[in-house]
Amino acid sequence: MTDFLLQPWPWWFSGPLIGLTVPLLYLLAGKGFGVSTSLQQLGALCSPGSKLAYLKNYDRRQGAWTLVLALGIAIGGFTGSHWLSAEPIEFLPARFFSVWGAIKLFIGGILIGFGARYAGGCTSGHAITGLANLNPPSLIATIFFFVGGLGVTWGLGHFLF
């Protein structure tokens, strides 16, 4: 048991379980699975006097659960990497531990935050929950996630990575 669990988990084990979170979150908490709303929640929480409609009109109480979900994911990350892994996980390649690496992560982060909120969801809200509910805009979003990712990787990959 531990031999298997302490190694990286294969797709056919972790994939279905990741998918299970969508119905589980609906059944146990009545919430639709999606992570990027937590960014808006954080923004609205950290700038209570903001005049920007996007943050001012956001219902902080209603969205509080998104931060609880994010906290849970962080706890799960700690559990998975510290207690359930035989060897340390290489989250980021060594070359990212540099000023240029940090800048790349920051720029990538900006695109993630801006893009996810502009598109109305990220990989969890669009690619998993949206596709699972056969929502056509989510299919379009997922396609363009890959358009952007493949474009950068194949177009700028030699420069960036």
């Binding site: 056919w12 998918g19 994010a70 962080a74 390649p93 990538g108 996810a116 502009y118 509910n133």
Partner: protein, 171 residues
């Protein structure tokens, strides 16, 4: 079930008093329910964080390998996750399951607008550059990856950028 409940309650003679009782009972339950919602959300989040980490979708290299078509791992994970989630949602719909508080489960479809294309492409680019999506940023932070705070602060900056530019962006 809710409608049946209402129907069985409505023929009662003292409708006002009953409605008041019901509202009071509902609001007291919903406080306990709210705590329960946070507890189960935390649990599901932890479950998911473990899966993100152990399935290695938190690793930059895995994302890069996916976009380079060198590794089917992430495609298979997303594919099987969507399949299982779809089956689960099918059962919830077909079996008219409510959530554990008795409230109906309804997926609110995300609408289409130009941002789905433009924002989606930007998000994909960020996914490839930082090798992370919002979910895995939190998992990286929880795992103690200090560098992930740059991705996280970036994501917040990106969110503020959207909040700032939203009125001027095509939707």
């Amino acid at each position: 079930m809710a409608t049946i409940n209402k129907k069985t309650v409505s023929p009662a003679p003292t409708s006002i008093a009953e409605t008041e009782n019901k509202t009071a009972a509902q609001s007291s339950t919903s406080t306990a329910d709210a705590a329960m919602v946070y507890a189960t959300t935390l649990l599901v989040g932890t479950f998911l964080g473990i899966l993100f980490t152990k399935s290695e979708v938190v690793r930059w290299q895995r994302i890069n390998d996916m976009f380079l078509f060198q590794d089917s791992h992430l495609y298979l994970i997303i594919g099987s996750a969507v399949t299982v989630a779809m089956l689960g949602m099918f059962l919830i719909r077909k079996c008219k399951a409510s959530d554990i508080y008795g409230k109906p489960i309804r997926y609110s479809p995300k609408p289409f607008h130009k941002g789905v294309i433009l924002g989606g492409t930007a998000f994909g680019a960020g996914w490839a550059i930082a090798g992370a999506c919002p979910g895995t940023i939190y998992a990286q932070l929880g795992s103690g990856v200090g560098l992930a705070s740059f991705t996280c602060v970036g994501a917040l900056a990106g969110m503020y950028l959207y909040a700032l530019t939203k009125p001027h962006l095509p939707h």
